[in-house]
């Protein structure tokens, strides 16, 4: 629906007015008659509550009447009194009242109830039984752990993607080396090795799960430091969970970003290279000065997507004990012996993080004059 027809739908169009607003009225009624809470200003026995209920009931009754007339005069409905301009206008106005009343009910039973529950939960001594209140209770009690987790997840994704981008620039230069028949044998061999090393790297990293990579990196580093006769405490200081987790994210993303950048390079028109080579520039000069800047610009949306993927996929690092959002929620669940509730909280928090990031990327993309697609799928 475009802007134009949206406006017409609200101000003029009346085709589904009775049906749509009857549903809204039913929702409003169910809210008004639901259990009130101490902050409620809309009780079924209070003045405002009764007023809302009257609005809802009378609109339902009027819609029922309209339906009967419609059934009775199926083909000549437009000649009945229901299509008289004043009736149409009246029903239009009635629908506005219904919507306003329903919004009031939603504020009361939705927003204020949430505020009340949060306050209640913050004063509770033990985990409440209800699903929603338990979610809120555990989030509030574990907020320090969860905030640390969020901060770690954001740092992992940001730093990981940034480091990966730098490494990927290096890796893609290796990847695109191609032996030329004008090179001497040594250069040919070096180019072949470089390109095949990059290919192998991408092949292995993309073909194995990040969880396995995380474990391998962590224990590989641990064993390496062990050889230098360091104590376990010393090793944990140097090769911390966070550092090894960050290495995992960075090295994993490097493989994906290498392919992203390679795609970006391939997408640059061949004529750009031809023009620069025809002016006597070397392959390297042409790459650095002409092709690569354009390739990076092409790749910026995909690099942003990699960042969002890293927010989600860094959750597997909890397997080595990185204190990210996943590990934080796991810890909270261990303290309060409730799992489903707190994992739902984790899902909501991850969703907020990725949603905010994609909004940010969309904004940046607009500033840089580049289209950005919706949430990316996982690697």
């Amino acid at each position: 629906m475009n802007q134009q027809s949206k406006a017409t739908f609200i101000t003029r169009d009346y085709r589904y007015l009775y049906l749509g607003c009857s549903l809204i009225a039913l929702l409003g009624l169910s809210l008004v008659y639901s259990q009130p809470h101490p902050y409620s200003f809309l009780r079924s026995d209070g003045a405002l509550g009764i007023l809302c209920a009257v609005i809802f009931w009378s609109f339902l009754a009027f819609s029922g009447l309209a339906l009967m007339i419609k059934f009775a005069y199926w083909s000549s409905y437009s000649d009945t009194v229901m299509r008289h301009p004043s009736v149409v206008r009246a029903s239009r106005w009635a629908s506005y009242f219904v919507v306003v009343a329903c919004i009031l009910a939603l504020i009361d039973r939705g927003l204020l109830r949430f505020v009340y529950t949060v306050q209640l939960c913050s004063q509770m001594e033990k985990n409440p039984q209800g699903f929603g209140s338990s979610m809120i209770y555990m989030t509030l009690k574990g907020k320090d752990i969860i905030l640390t987790g969020i901060w770690t997840t954001v740092r992992l994704a940001l730093l990981g993607t940034a480091i990966a981008f730098i490494l990927a620039i290096f890796m893609v230069f290796l990847r695109i080396q191609e032996p030329d028949k004008r090179d001497n044998d040594f250069v040919k061999a070096v180019k072949w090795l470089a390109s095949h090393f990059a290919r192998l790297y991408v092949f292995v990293i993309r073909g194995t799960p990040m969880m396995v990579q995380a474990l391998i990196f962590y224990y590989f580093g641990f064993n390496l430091f062990k050889k230098t006769n360091m104590t376990v405490t010393e090793i944990n200081n140097v090769w911390s969970f966070f550092i090894s987790g960050l290495c995992t994210v960075a090295l994993n993303s490097t493989a994906y970003l290498t392919e992203v950048l390679r795609g970006g390079i391939l997408a640059v028109d061949r004529g750009q290279t031809e023009a620069s080579r025809s002016l006597g520039m070397t392959n390297w000069q042409s790459m650095i000065r002409v092709v690569f800047p354009q390739a990076v610009k092409n790749s910026i949306p995909a690099i942003g997507n990699e960042f969002i993927i890293n927010i989600k996929d860094s959750s597997v690092l909890s397997v080595i004990g990185v204190m990210d959002l996943m590990y934080a929620t796991k810890s909270v669940s261990g303290i309060y012996f409730r799992s489903l509730e707190i994992y739902c909280v984790a899902a909501i928090l991850y969703l907020i993080l990725t949603w905010l990031s994609s909004l940010l990327l969309k904004y940046l993309g607009k500033r840089l004059d580049m289209p950005v697609k919706g949430l990316p799928s996982s690697n």
Binding site: K181, R182, S276, R277, L279, G280, M281, T282, Q294
Partner: protein
Amino acid sequence: MDEVVLKIENLEKSFGELHVLKGIDLEIRKGEVVCIIGASGSGKSTLLRCINLLEEADSGSIWFEGQDLMDLHVNLNALRQKIGMVFQSFNLFNNKNVLDNCTLAPVTVKKVPRAKAEETAIRHLKTVGLEDFIYADSTRLSGGQKQRVAIARALCMEPEIMLFDEPTSALDPEIVGEVLDVMKELAAEGMTMVVVTHEMAFAREVSDRVVFMDQGVILEQGSPQEIFGNPKNARTREFLTRYLEDKQE
């Protein structure tokens, strides 16, 4: 007009099964303007692209400045600096403005100081009539303007010879003139030029020699008067007649 600048000997090129160049011999003298004409697919563009090794020919020699470009040990980049090329699709560097398009190669390849390179670039941009677009974004120019920048860019390297690969084929008929005018000026200044073109009027008016290519061989070459006035080869005659008929329609 004696000194031979470029000499092509028995050049062969195949794309897989397709035999595109079947033994081309061609000499270009200093200051000469040579137009290569012929039907699409006759190998004219491939010949031009083989001259500065954008396509690598299979066999034969390309003598330039006493060196064979086909020799695997020559410094190709050094020789390419002296062979300017103008493309059908302009190929301006999209990430640079007009001035930087012109100064990039002199600064990075010839190590000309930036100030001097800019001075030269502005001089050449003036000759192609683009002094008002020096800092313009190269992607926002019209086709004719782009092609004139491309010519200025090639001139900034002070080439011995300029290759034009159908420089007006991607332009609107109304804009073709502004590019051809620049090329005529260049020819008048004594630049050595090899032009692959479908602009017969330009070939007739400006060139010293016209080369007719068909199916990978040079069928006929001579002065414009000879080729357009009295073509000896039946295939040349057929091509020119059909071409003139098309023009009249």
